[in-house]
């Protein structure tokens, strides 16, 4: 992929800039060289007046590749997905004013899911700031509530150090987006350039190691548990702690559930894994969560979509151990008994060491009884659906995708029913394979997410599971896929409705489907072809598997394929915990 790309755009990489230390540099050169020093591979961006100096320097270098998106929101999403799928900091570059406001949705999305990205934004020249200049917005003001931190660089002498800080802050502790706002005159000013290897910040020292006393208490509590449960979130994925978690769960023999953000943190095909919990979680996971006596929460935050009504959750007595790198996530919605602040991987490693030393073992009889109960819950088979339907069932498409890709694809999704079906039916055995907007729930992330993932993993299978509504929110990125030959496979579960909205309207609004029907859809096959891609329309269940096999066949390996599956319009996502209800008050498919 990379080679053809370079051949297509020979002017891009011919002018090699020779980097040497301690030389004078303009602000624009400094930005570019800092990114190179950080080992950045891709910068996703869109040029504009305030960043022209920076783009001129990008033109002259070949240390990283710039990916020109078609809308700034997609630049940030792609950088975000690069970060999610690699664990490295993603980078986006946008211009001032509308460039920034377009990027805000992407930044807020990354913020809600704690994703490390650095967004460099152009700003009007410093003398013009505050004068309502052309394409001026208060970038640090607008982004403040949705960044981990942000900077306005007013002096070129501070630029290199600020870039270093941005990368450190984004990647450490609880990760998150950092915005560096650089006025145009600063990009033209000249100073001595030296990129600091690291920077100490007296106000920023994330806790790394868990408190040893708390760790001992936690281990004791786990060993004495009779109905234990391990509940893990995005923190396990972000903290690269899946191996430790899986080992811990295996050693103890405890059941595990993952949040939407935590999928892949513990292998979905492992017998100990009860699947996802929460609003659309499995019956067994939600019941076990509600009825356990000791709950180990790892890198998860008890959010409203996970535990439902906190008062209902608190009705059952249980002791809670909560490991999180962010102290403010602990005891925010649910009171916990043993808080452990620290890097999840370190804490789990220490916990494993303590467990291995311990003479006691969990009570086998109690644990057996607990598993018997869980298997009873599991036997409800809450994810069953009609496999004999003459209309394509969306769940079936996801299951087939899992089979065809051998469970080893990177899967991005948009937001809605298809997202839940992807989470329920694609069994993620590895972390960083499931890329979705969990916290903010941003429709339109799927395609730019797939681009970021595919660029980071050129040889991997990348599928974007989406709906006909979500995909249209960033459909312009089909053009970016063409330019860079990004061969993602779009799996559109097209039910001609904003499915999740329709589902809520059916359940809670007397089936009054206000504005949730998708009129005037484009012919997606022709649309894909218009952008130079392969389009497929699939109407019958018996054609699903063949279409997926073809899309992922070697013949189409280099091609972007847009699959338009015409799915059942009336299908709903089950199980479902209504808003305000408790976790054990699920609606199951058969009850309707």
């Amino acid at each position: 992929m990379t080679e053809t790309w370079q051949n297509d755009y020979p002017h891009r990489f011919t002018n090699e800039l020779i980097f040497c230390q301690f030389m004078e540099a303009t602000g624009a050169e400094i930005v570019v060289r800092c990114l190179a020093e950080e080992g950045v591979e891709f910068v996703f961006g869109y040029p504009g007046g305030a960043v022209l100096n920076i783009y001129d320097e990008i033109f002259k270098q070949n240390k990283f590749k710039h990916v020109l998106v078609r809308h700034e929101q997609a630049a940030v999403h792609a950088a975000d997905a690069y970060a999610r799928s690699t664990g490295r900091v993603g980078v986006a570059l946008v211009t001032s004013g509308p460039g920034v406001t377009n990027a805000v949705t992407g930044i807020a999305t990354a913020y809600m899911d704690s994703i490390p990205i650095v967004v460099v934004t152009g700003q009007v020249p410093t003398p013009a700031i505050g004068l309502d200049a052309f394409q001026e917005v208060d970038t640090v003001g607008i982004t403040r509530p949705c960044v981990k931190h942000n900077f306005l660089v007013k002096d070129v002498k501070d630029l290199a150090a600020t870039m270093k800080k941005a990368f450190i802050i984004a990647a450490t502790g609880r990760p998150g987006p950092v915005v560096v706002d650089v006025p145009k005159d600063v990009t033209a000013h000249v100073t001595e350039f030296e990129y600091p290897a690291t920077i100490e910040m007296r106000s920023y020292n994330p806790v790394v190691k868990g408190h040893s006393g708390q760790l001992k208490r936690a281990v004791q509590m786990l060993l004495e548990a009779r109905r234990p449960m391990i509940y893990t979130g995005g923190g396990v994925v972000l903290g690269d702690a899946s191996a430790q978690l899986t080992q811990l769960a295996g050693l103890l023999g405890f059941p595990v559930t993952n949040t939407l953000m935590g999928l892949g943190g513990h292998p979905a095909t492992d017998r100990q894994n009860l699947g996802m919990l929460g609003m659309h979680g499995t019956y067994e996971a939600n019941m076990a969560m509600q009825h356990c006596d000791v709950l180990l929460a790892v890198g998860a935050r008890f959010d409203d979509r996970v535990i439902g009504n906190p008062a209902h959750f608190a009705r059952e007595q249980r002791s809670i151990i909560h490991i999180d790198v962010d102290p403010s996530s602990i005891s925010k919605r649910v009171k916990v008994d043993v808080p452990i602040v620290g890097d999840v991987k370190n804490v789990l490693t220490d916990m494993l060491a303590l467990l291995k030393q311990a003479k006691e073992k969990p009570d086998a009889a109690a644990l057996n009884a607990w598993w018997t109960q869980i298997e009873l819950w599991r036997s409800k088979n809450c994810l069953k659906y009609n496999r004999n339907s003459p209309i394509i069932k969306p769940q079936y498409v996801v299951e087939k995708l899992w089979e065809v890709t051998k469970g080893d694809a990177f899967v991005t999704s948009d937001v809605g029913q298809h997202q839940m079906w992807a989470a329920q039916y694609y069994k993620f055995d590895k972390p960083r394979r499931w890329i979705n907007s969990g916290g903010l729930g941003t429709m339109g992330v799927g395609l730019p997410y797939a681009m970021g993932v595919q660029l980071a993993h050129p040889d991997a299978q990348v599928a974007c599971i989406t709906g006909e509504s979500s995909i249209q929110m960033n459909i312009q990125e089909l053009s970016t896929c063409k330019q860079y030959r990004i061969p993602v496979k779009v799996v559109t579960l097209n039910n001609r409705y904003m499915g999740m909205v329709r589902q809520w309207q059916e359940f809670f609004y007397g089936s009054r489907y206000a504005e949730s029907y998708m009129e005037s859809l484009p012919d997606f096959v022709k649309l894909a072809e218009a952008y130079g891609h392969v389009g497929m329309r699939i109407d019958k269940p018996e054609d699903v598997e063949a279409a997926l096999k073809e899309a992922f066949s070697p013949a189409l390996k280099e091609r972007m394929v847009f699959m338009d599956f015409q799915t059942d319009q009336t299908e709903n996502v089950f199980p479902m915990v209504e808003g305000g209800k408790g976790l054990s008050e699920m609606i199951l498919a058969e009850e309707l």
Binding site: V140, G141, R144, H149, L152, R202, Y204, P327, S328
Partner: protein
């Protein structure tokens, strides 16, 4: 149970530092009764005193969220221990006829100082806890008050208890 808390914090004296704190309180719907801020003897540091009202859970979240701000160096809930709290108030009052002498006496009782005098007005400077300042305002005839300005509380720990880098 909601209680009044005085939270002191030290943060980097950077542009926008105040708005990060104020923004946090509004974004998370925390109460803010008063907020004072100024640089310390070390000009790179700002010290802020925030008076807020909330349950123990809310105050715990406020403290944690403040600590999470990248520019914040240290946070301390002064009301958790022995502390001193002071607020400055300037009051401009009508001071004419018999009331002029009476106003002076009341100011003296509250250890206020008259810092500006005209034929018809006094401006009185008063320092104390918020409730002392309230008491002064209650002690004088509201009809005499022309304007008041209060700084909001500043606080400091007693004895060895201190907030420093």
């Amino acid at each position: 149970m909601s209680r009044r808390h005085i939270i002191s914090l030290l943060m980097e004296n950077e542009a926008g530092a105040l708005s990060r704190v104020a923004g946090l309180f509004s974004a998370r719907a925390y109460n803010i009764e008063s907020l004072t801020v100024a640089p310390t003897e070390d000009a790179t540091l700002s010290r802020m005193t925030i008076v807020t009202v909330g349950s123990e859970d809310i105050i715990e979240q406020i403290t944690k969220q403040l600590n999470k701000l990248v520019d914040v160096i240290k946070v301390m809930d002064l009301t958790e221990g022995r502390h001193i709290e002071r607020e400055l108030m300037l009051v401009k009052v009508k001071a004419v006829g018999e009331g002029r002498e009476e106003m002076k006496r009341t100011a003296d009782i509250f250890r206020g100082r008259i810092i500006d005098v005209t034929d018809a007005t006094y401006t009185i400077e008063l320092t104390g806890t918020g409730s002392k300042l309230d008491a002064f305002l209650e002690a004088i005839d509201p009809a005499f008050i022309i304007e008041t300005v209060r700084t909001g509380a500043s606080g400091i720990g007693r004895g060895e208890r201190s907030l420093k880098v």
